[in-house]
């Protein structure tokens, strides 16, 4: 409940404040968002599985975001930033799909 409210609150704040993304963060923000989404879906699945753990969620959320950012940064330094970003997005996308499939099985038993 708190989580949903917080998510909505964050979205509302983003809509109202209309901030611009700092140039230095521009390559990392999309990846970070996708990584965070992955963590959130993982958390939802864990919740449905009954094995949700707060600490674990927080840690995995933060580490997901950081690792994704570091990978993109490394890619930029190595000159393969675009490809590596694509790779990260693909991997995270696969994981999100897997989690969503598990959630779906939980909710709809199908």
């Amino acid at each position: 409940m708190i989580a949903v409210l917080a998510l909505i609150g964050g979205i509302v704040a983003g809509v109202i404040l209309e901030p611009t993304v700092p140039l230095a963060l521009q390559p990392y923000l999309p990846i970070a968002v996708v990584a965070a989404l992955d963590a959130v879906f993982g958390g939802v699945r864990a919740k449905l599985d009954g094995i949700f753990d707060d600490k674990q969620f927080v840690i995995s959320f933060i580490s997901n975001v950081l690792v994704a950012g570091v990978i993109v940064y490394l890619g930029d330094q190595l000159g393969v930033g675009t490809q590596l970003s694509t790779g990260v997005v693909v991997v995270l996308g696969v994981r999100i799909f897997g989690n969503v499939a598990a959630i779906r099985r939980h909710l709809f038993r199908a």
């Binding site: 708190i2 989580a3 949903v4 409210l5 917080a6 998510l7 909505i8 609150g9 964050g10 979205i11 509302v12 704040a13 983003g14 809509v15 209309e18 901030p19 611009t20 993304v21 521009q26 923000l29 999309p30 970070a32 968002v33 965070a36 989404l37 959130v40 993982g42 958390g43 699945r45 864990a46 599985d49 009954g50 094995i51 753990d53 707060d54 600490k55 674990q56 969620f57 927080v58 995995s60 959320f61 933060i62 994981r95 897997g98 989690n99 598990a102």
Partner: protein, 347 residues
């Protein structure tokens, strides 16, 4: 750490479809070891996205088993023994429940678990809330910033090249325009400067001509010639003679003052004898007369005073001449500019 709360006994009840006693085959001693490794296990599972549901179920199962074991006071007495740091959170009444049947113990554990969970939620829930709020915020921000430059981000390479060459061409055009406008500006500036110089020169010339023509007041070094009537009347011819001598001496501007007015002497000035005085142009003047002339004072005074000139003629008329050199002579009288009807500049 919080992992060892009796939260775990809940899980079997949340999954009633699990076979209740399936975990009992495990070695009891292994249970306690597993408990220490529990956290790591879980982390691994989490990081591998709960690779298999079976593992997760096994976890829950084992926990349930553990709780039952503790409640029934089975083989090893570790559960009731001096509490580990993790167990110290739990209500103290739990050990007292141990001797009783398994079911009451479990319900008591569930109740205390609910309280503990609430306490936990306020802390960790806050962290989760902050993280999710951040996520929503950045999500919206990213989406918005992506929308703003979507025109170019989504354009194909060919389109982008087209746009770029268009921009290049327009830039070149604008540069040329800037250059030509700067050229025009320079021309206008130099033209304006030349015009200003010509204007100044023309003004200077107009001033000079105005002084010569008598349309402008003038000042400068010169002489004052006073002609007094002592025993007779000064003739117009004598005055004209004096003016001509002054002109011959290089006088640039001449004015004649008399009782009755002042007259600027110009090219067309006429001198006519009138009864008791002299009519100069339209004004009738009587003596004494004062002639103001601008020019070289020395030359002018000599021109008036030289032998057989002005002075003898005035004296023969019964007058007297006094010449004063002046550093500054002011000629204020002017004549209106003539309105030429016929004559036009020849060039």
């Amino acid at each position: 750490m919080t992992y060892f709360d009796p939260a775990q006994p809940d899980q079997p009840t949340s999954r009633p479809d699990r076979p209740a006693g399936s975990g009992w085959n495990d070695q009891p001693t292994k249970e306690w070891n597993w408990r220490d490794d529990d956290d790591d296990d879980r982390d691994e599972q989490y990081s591998s996205q709960y690779a298999s549901q079976e593992d997760a179920y096994a976890d829950a199962e084992e926990t349930a088993e553990e709780a039952r074991e503790g409640a029934s006071g089975s083989e090893d007495g570790h559960y009731a023994a001096p509490p580990s740091p993790e167990l110290s959170d739990e209500p103290s009444d739990e050990p007292s429940d141990e001797p009783s049947a398994a079911a009451p113990a479990r319900s008591a554990g569930a109740q205390s678990d609910a309280a503990a969970r609430k306490k936990r939620l306020s802390g960790a829930g806050l962290g989760i809330g902050i993280l999710l709020a951040l996520l929503g915020f950045t999500l919206v921000v990213q989406v918005k910033s992506n929308n703003t430059d979507a025109i170019y981000a989504s354009a194909r390479e060919g389109d982008l090249l087209q746009i770029m060459s268009d921009l290049d061409a327009s830039e070149k055009r604008l540069q040329q325009e800037i250059a030509s406008l700067q050229q025009t500006q320079r021309e206008l500036q130099s033209g304006a400067a030349g015009q200003q110089a010509a204007l100044n020169e023309a003004k200077q010339r107009a001033d000079d001509l105005g002084i010569l023509a008598g349309t402008l007041p003038a000042r400068g070094p010169g002489v004052q010639v006073r002609i007094e009537e002592i025993s007779g009347t000064i003739k117009a011819a004598s005055l004209l003679n004096a003016v001509q001598e002054l002109r011959g001496g290089g006088a640039e501007a001449i004015e004649i003052d008399g009782s009755g007015g002042a007259v600027r002497v110009i090219a067309s000035t006429s001198f006519v004898d009138a009864d008791g005085g002299i009519r100069i142009d339209d004004k009738r003047l009587t003596g004494p007369y004062t002639i103001l002339a601008i020019g070289d004072p020395e030359t002018l005074s000599k021109a008036v005073q030289f032998a057989g000139g002005v002075v003898p003629r005035v004296k023969s008329d019964g007058g007297n001449v006094i010449v004063n050199n002046r550093d500054v002579v002011e000629i204020k009288e002017v004549v209106p500019a003539p309105d030429l009807q016929y004559a036009r500049p020849a060039s």
